[in-house]
Symmetry: C2
Subunit: 196 residues, 2 copies
C-alpha cells in the first residue's frame, strides 16, 4: 500500500510549511507520519525527493484546494482576483501572522535548487499566475486593450508574496493591506483607462 507514502508526504508538507525544508529532519517527518526510516527510503531515494513529492501535491491541489473553494459563488473575474488575495489575508489572521505562502518560502529558502525542485517551484507559480491570467482574460473588456495580461498576473503574485512577507515580519496586516489596496487602486486606474 502507498498509504504510508501518503502519510509521509502529508507530514512533510506540514513540517516544511511550519519549519522550512532545511530545518525539518527526516526524524521529524517519521515521527509525525508514524513511520520508520526504512519506509521513507523505500519510497524516496533522498530527502529532496520528499520535497519534490510535496511540491507535486501542492501543484495538483491548486485548483481543488485553493482556487475552487476561494471562488465558489464568485463569478466576477476581477473580484475573483481580490477574493483570492483576501484568502491569503485570512490565512495570516488564522495563523496569527505565522502564515507564509509555502511555495514562496521554499523558493527563497532553497538557495541552490536542484533543477527538479526549481522546475516544480516554477510550475506552482505558473499555475497560480495562469489562473489569474484567465481571470484577466475573462475581464478583458474592463482592462486596457493593450495590457500585458501575463505581466499583470505576475504582478498580482508579486503583490501577494511581498505583502505576505512583510505582514509576517511586522506581525501586522497593515503592510499586506497597504499593498493590496495599492493594487486595487491600480486596477481601478486600468478600468478607468479602459473606458476611454
Amino acid at each position: 500500500m502507498s498509504e504510508t507514502r501518503e502519510r509521509i508526504v502529508m507530514a512533510a508538507m506540514e513540517l516544511f510549511w511550519e519549519k522550512g525544508y532545511g530545518s525539518t529532519s527526516i526524524a521529524d517527518i517519521l515521527r509525525k507520519a508514524g513511520a520508520n526510516s526504512g519506509s521513507l527510503y523505500h519510497f524516496f531515494p533522498a530527502k529532496q525527493d520528499v520535497l519534490n513529492a510535496v511540491l507535486d501535491t501542492y501543484f495538483h491541489g491548486i485548483r481543488p484546494m485553493l482556487l475552487d473553494p476561494a471562488w465558489e459563488g464568485v463569478d466576477d473575474p476581477l473580484e475573483r482576483v481580490f477574493v483570492l488575495l483576501g484568502r491569503y489575508r485570512q490565512f495570516l489572521i488564522d495563523t496569527d501572522y505565522f502564515y507564509g505562502c509555502p511555495i514562496g518560502s521554499l523558493a527563497l529558502e532553497i538557495h541552490e535548487p536542484d533543477p527538479a525542485v526549481r522546475e516544480r517551484l516554477v510550475a506552482n507559480f505558473s499555475a497560480w499566475t495562469g489562473a489569474i491570467e484567465e481571470c484577466l482574460a475573462a475581464a478583458s473588456e474592463r482592462l486596457p486593450a493593450d495590457i500585458d495580461r501575463k505581466a499583470l498576473a505576475q504582478f498580482v503574485l508579486t503583490a501577494m508574496e511581498g505583502g505576505v512577507m512583510q505582514a509576517r515580519t511586522h506581525r501586522s496586516l497593515e503592510p499586506f493591506d497597504a499593498s493590496i489596496s495599492q493594487l486595487r487602486n491600480y486596477f481601478d486606474c486600468l478600468a478607468a483607462a479602459a473606458e476611454r
Copy 2:
C-alpha cells in the same frame, strides 16, 4: 581587538546570504573568517547573536552601501525609486539569478523569529520603505494629494521582493521586469491623476 569580530560578522553575512541562516554552520563561518570557535563564542553567546549582528550591519549599511551609491547623480525623487529597483535588477544579472534580497530571504526563512531577530528584520524593512517614502514626499506635487505615501512605499518594497523571488525561481528577468513595468505604469496613472 574586535577585528576578529568584524571578520566573523562579514563572513556570516556572506554565508547567510549565499546559503541561508539554517544551512550555514558555525564551522562554515569560522572557516571563512579564519577564526576559532572560542573566538566566536567569546563575542557572541550563540549563533543567533551572530545573525543579529549581521542584521545590524545591514541596517547601518542601507544608506552608505545601498542608497547613496544607487542615487549618486540622480536627483529626481521618483526616478530614484526606479533607479533603486534597477539596482536589484542588476544584482540578479550579476549573480546569474542567484541573488535574493538578504533581508527578505531571512524574513521568510526564520519561521519562529526570536523577538530580537524580528525587530531587526522590521527595522531593515522600515528603513528601506522609509527612504522610499521620503522620495514620494519629495515628489508629492506629482502624486495625488490624498495618496497614502507609506502604503505606496510598502507597495514598492512588495514589488521588489516579489519580483526578485520570481526572477530567482524562473531564472529569468521576465517576472521582475513584468512587475516593475506594472509598477511604473501605476506610477504613471498616479501622475496623470495628480495633474487633474
